[in-house]
């Protein structure tokens, strides 16, 4: 998906730049005088007619770029509480702490772990007992 989106973006940029290039060549390319527009004063008259293919190419490139930008944007995050909470409970990668305050899984897990009341002696004894008893013999499901 990312590759396709990048390709579309590149194509869009190419076409846009090509259209701009062609537009810049218009005054040098045209030799005959175009018909004068009666509504415009002489100083504002562009003295060229814009060919249809440049217009079409510009519009096409804009469409390509819009499609590419939309396809290459990041996934939308859940805005419903239950969906967000469900991903925290069900998926492992939502539990990783990416920065301080970002990620980290269920924020209410702190109410069940209660770091302010941590029983260091009891937990330490249990951990050392577990380590002495051989530690992790076979891997468990979740860290």
């Amino acid at each position: 998906m990312a590759a396709i989106a990048t390709a579309i973006n590149v194509l869009g940029v190419l076409f846009l730049s090509h259209a701009a290039y062609e537009h810049s060549l218009l005054t040098s390319a045209s030799t005959s005088l175009p018909p004068t527009h009666s509504l415009l004063p002489a100083s504002l008259d562009p003295k060229i007619t814009l060919p249809l293919d440049i217009t079409l190419e510009t519009l096409f490139s804009v469409l390509l770029l819009c499609a590419g930008m939309v396809l290459s944007s990041a996934d939308l995050k859940p805005i419903q509480w239950r969906v967000w909470a469900g991903t925290l409970e069900a998926s492992q990668e939502a539990r990783e702490v990416k920065e301080v305050g970002v990620g980290g899984g269920n924020p209410y897990q702190a109410l069940e772990e209660r770091a302010g009341f941590w029983d260091v002696r009891g937990v330490g004894k249990a951990t050392r007992g577990w380590m002495d008893g051989g530690g992790d013999k076979k891997g468990k499901g979740r860290a």
């Binding site: 509480w81 239950r82 969906v83 909470a85 469900g86 991903t87 925290l88 409970e89 069900a90 998926s91 492992q92 939502a94 539990r95 990783e96 702490v97 990416k98 920065e99 301080v100 305050g101 980290g104 269920n106 924020p107 209410y108 897990q109 702190a110 109410l111 069940e112 772990e113 209660r114 770091a115 302010g116 009341f117 941590w118 029983d119 260091v120 002696r121 009891g122 937990v123 330490g124 249990a126 951990t127 050392r128 577990w130 380590m131 530690g135 992790d136 468990k140 499901g141 979740r142 860290a143």
Partner: protein, 393 residues
């Protein structure tokens, strides 16, 4: 989600708030000598650490592994953190540029939140695995940065003293130190919490409950303290008080789906001791709590498990009640009428179906379903199998 992040810090770091203020002590009292680290005979080992070669401090990004606190039941995170702690501390230790005058050190320090969170988590991991030397080094770094009289650092010092205490005499000293600190300034909630935790760990549950009651009286919005009080009351067997405390937790944090499930579990436990109409009411309330937890969290295994169990029991009770006893519901008191049999049966089927789906997908390890632990999945599977056996008979 910003308010949740604030709650996380407030709840996790202990009432007083994680203040990262550097500078002179804000209080005029002296930290009691017994709570300061100097009395312990770790100075010699500390000098050994100093003489090792130090690498220059790296302002590099800390591994995300260091940012999770190692206080859950699973010891493997603590083990891996404690294994990496010595290299971390030596790499962070001060080098030639910390002896430069003040303005220049500002350009050369590697200050970040991750750094201090990492120090604290490594400290906790070392205490857990028994590596007190490295724990002392980490604690010293934290004291050097935040000062000895910082609320949170006082709690960490107390934690260190508790962990390294070898007999009840030393624990008594730690208790006395806490009391001294609280006498000077009774508002240090982190030390209050440590005091209650110490009372609980030596077995004085009733005193711990009294201490926590004072704490929640002073700070009724501290959900962590209410949750600890609920746990203590549950341990003592006073289920009604546990239910009250958990309801207070939910008042402060109404969207905590795991606390709704916890309250459902505790109410179910109390329902098993009741009879008749009261039991029906309690079972219905427990079922509603689990329903609420599922509303708040899609695919919540614990919620569906509880829903299955409570609807099963409620169906039996309702079928028993059909034969005679009228169930009382007092509209003035705001009680809800007990749910109808059809509703309960539908919920039962829903819970069974969802449990089966979660077990199937979780054991297959599909992407987005791998967060359930094996123990949970096995328990859910056993529950489903047990009931299918009953039907087969």
């Amino acid at each position: 989600m910003v308010h949740l992040i604030l709650f996380r810090f407030r709840v996790g770091i202990g009432g007083g708030g994680g203040d990262a203020v550097v500078g002179p002590a804000r209080r005029s009292f002296e930290v009691p000598a017994s709570l300061s680290i100097n009395l312990r005979t770790h100075d010699q080992e500390h000098h050994e650490c100093d003489s090792e070669t130090h690498q220059p401090s790296q302002p590099a990004k800390m591994p995300a592994l260091y940012l999770t606190a190692p206080i859950s039941a699973d010891p493997r995170l603590a083990l891996s953190l404690a294994a990496q702690a010595p290299t971390f501390t030596t790499s962070q230790a001060s080098s030639w540029w910390s002896s430069l005058p003040y303005p220049l050190t500002l350009f050369l320090n590697s200050e970040s939140q991750e750094k201090w969170t990492s120090y604290e988590n490594l400290f906790l991991a070392c205490l857990r695995t028994g590596d007190f030397t490295t724990a002392y080094t980490c604690l010293e770094a934290l004291i050097a940065r935040f000062g000895k009289t910082n609320d949170h650092i006082l709690a960490l010092q107390g934690l260190y003293q508790e962990a390294t205490a070898q007999n009840t005499g030393q624990l008594e000293e730690v208790m006395k130190a806490y009391d001294e600190v609280l006498r000077e300034d009774p508002t240090i909630f982190s030390v209050r919490k440590r005091r209650a935790a110490l009372l609980r760990s030596v077995g004085k549950a009733a005193e711990a409950i009294a201490d926590l009651t004072v704490l929640v009286d002073a700070s009724p919005t501290d959900a962590e303290a209410w949750a600890e009080l609920a746990d203590l009351c549950l341990g003592q067997g006073s289920l009604e008080q546990a239910v009250y405390c958990l309801e207070e937790v939910l008042l402060v944090m109404p969207n905590a789906w795991n606390m709704h499930a916890r309250l459902g579990e505790v109410v179910y436990m109390s329902a098993q001791k009741m009879e008749g109409g009261d039991q029906m009411k309690a079972l219905a309330e427990s079922m509603r709590r689990f329903c609420r937890s599922i509303e708040l969290c899609d695919g919540y295994l614990r919620g569906f498990y509880g829903l299955r169990v409570t609807t099963g029991t409620l169906l039996e009770a309702l079928q028993g009640a059909k034969k005679g006893q009228p169930t009382t519901s007092d509209p003035l008191a705001g009680d809800l009428a007990p749910p109808s049999v059809a509703t309960v049966m539908k919920l039962n089927e829903l819970a069974t179906a969802k449990l089966a789906e979660i077990v199937r997908r979780g054991t297959a390890g599909e992407k987005g379903w791998d967060g359930y632990s094996e123990v949970e999945l096995k328990a859910a599977k056993d529950l489903i199998d047990r009931d299918t056996q009953k039907i087969e008979r």
